[in-house]
């Protein structure tokens, strides 16, 4: 929230609440068995779920409120018909799978909101620029033609998913777009990956809503990732996702990872300042890192994978 306060835009910001997400909304993306077990686990005091993921007695409520904050932000945008929503919640969500907590994530916040919009007939684009691949979000919408998932991430890295060849299930061939980048990749490589590989798919999909899994651990100062982005690069990413929105009030950003508090704060200010038209001091955009070849490889690997799946579908 310091990153938001640094904008000095108190009059332009509307704060909305974070009510607990309804179980019906959670059940669109998580199994009721998982929800029951997670609630029960927390009620008994919680503990380690895996070496990364810990829950306490109040974690289920906190996770429901994190997911609920996203739903409430979407409702606010629907009412106002303008603006941008930022959902700075913990725990984050994009690693949480249908029936598994993982990577600090208990419930998949962005997926809960995307599923709620899809249930209302909306076409939803999720852009995930966290340094880690959003395995949970990918698997939840793997075979869902209503949601396009685009992820830029360092590879190889946790959670080990997110290869270019992962392009979606038989009912959603091509609607998963993975842009794996090597350690050290800079902003110019990220922009090229989006322009060359993702942009044509997004144009063809024509989303009604754009939701962003907005991690800031791709910043060069982050201790858990090795991409080399600056706040200037995040500002350019913000402009890019805004260009995917077809009408005002249809863009929401959900905070995911970010483990350098300084970079988290300055990157938040950079992204929100850019979207709100505020001049904030930015680090220059970066260039010259490795990964140009990776973008070319991604494009060809993806094309082959999509063609193979479509051929298999025709033969059925």
């Amino acid at each position: 929230m310091d990153g938001v306060r640094d904008l000095h835009l108190e009059d332009a910001i509307t704060y909305v609440g974070s009510p607990e997400a309804e179980l019906e909304a959670l059940a669109r993306v998580h199994t009721t068995k998982y929800l029951d077990e997670l609630e029960d686990f927390c009620r008994q005091g919680g503990g380690d779920i895996d070496p990364d993921t810990y829950a306490r007695s109040d974690s289920f409520t906190a996770a429901r409120r994190a997911a609920g904050a996203g739903l409430e932000a979407i409702r606010a945008l629907e009412r106002q018909g303008e603006g941008v929503a930022f959902v700075p919640v913990r725990p984050p969500g994009h690693h949480a799978e249908t029936d598994r907590a993982m990577g600090f994530c208990l419930l998949n916040n962005v997926a809960v909101s995307a599923a709620a919009l899809a249930a209302k007939g909306q076409r939803v684009l999720i852009v995930d620029w966290d340094v880690h691949h959003g395995n949970g979000t990918q698997s939840i919408f793997w075979d869902d033609p209503r949601v396009l998932y685009v992820s830029m991430h360092q590879w190889p890295l946790f959670p080990g998913t997110g290869k270019a060849q992962e392009v979606g299930g038989p009912n959603a061939v091509g609607l998963t777009v993975n842009l794996p980048l090597p350690a050290g990749a800079t902003g110019d490589v990220v922009r090229r990956a989006f322009e060359q590989v993702a942009h044509p798919v997004i144009d063809g999909f024509a989303p009604d809503w754009v939701l962003v899994s907005c991690g800031f651990d791709a910043h060069r100062a982050d201790p858990l990732g090795e991409l080399a982005l600056s706040t200037g690069d995040f500002a350019q990413l913000a402009r890019l996702v805004r260009s995917f929105v077809s009408c005002p009030g249809r863009l929401a950003l959900f905070l995911e990872g970010g483990y350098s508090t300084r970079a988290l704060r300055s990157s938040t200010t950079a992204v929100l300042g850019t979207l709100l038209g505020v001049d904030v001091g930015l680090e220059p955009p970066t260039s010259g890192g490795p990964g140009q070849q990776a973008v070319a490889s991604t494009e060809s690997a993806r094309r082959l994978a999509v063609a193979g799946l479509e051929e298999a579908r025709c033969q059925r």
Partner: protein
């Protein structure tokens, strides 16, 4: 039936995973099978100081203690949760013939769903899985 040439063992340093490694090493020793000791690397583990390799001691020495030639033991760090890391060992280039795990890994709680790698593996694996029963420390 295909011969067991390559065996993947899930290893996280826990007592149960050591028991699984010893069981797999005893299986491999007389047959000459190779052992791929798979450590699933979590998100936080990437904060480990660079240059620090296997933090759980010498798994080769552990396997050698069970009568195995240590040159047949390979240490693999694979990103992701333990179940998906081990399932990835089934396909090329690793193409293992058998997966061996302990009953419970480090950090897993006693519930039936969350963190139960062994149950999940048995459900999803296309090759045989051995779950080595818990032994008292």
């Amino acid at each position: 039936m295909k011969a067991i040439d390559k065996v993947a063992v899930g290893f996280d340093g826990s007592h149960d995973s050591r028991a699984a490694l010893l069981w797999a090493a005893r299986l491999a020793a007389p047959t000459g099978a190779t052992l791929k000791v798979v450590h699933a690397v979590g998100l936080l583990e990437h904060a480990r100081p660079s240059g620090q390799e296997n933090p759980y001691g010498d798994v080769r020495a552990l396997a050698a203690g069970a009568g195995m030639d240590p040159s047949g033991v390979e240490w693999l760090e694979v990103d992701g949760n333990p179940c998906s890391a081990l399932l990835r060992m089934i396909s090329a280039p690793h193409s293992v013939d058998l997966i061996v795990v302990g009953t419970r890994g480090a950090g897993a709680h006693s519930g039936s769903l969350l963190g139960s790698t062994s149950l999940e593996l048995v459900e999803h694996s296309s090759i045989p899985v051995v779950v080595v029963p818990r032994q008292e420390p």
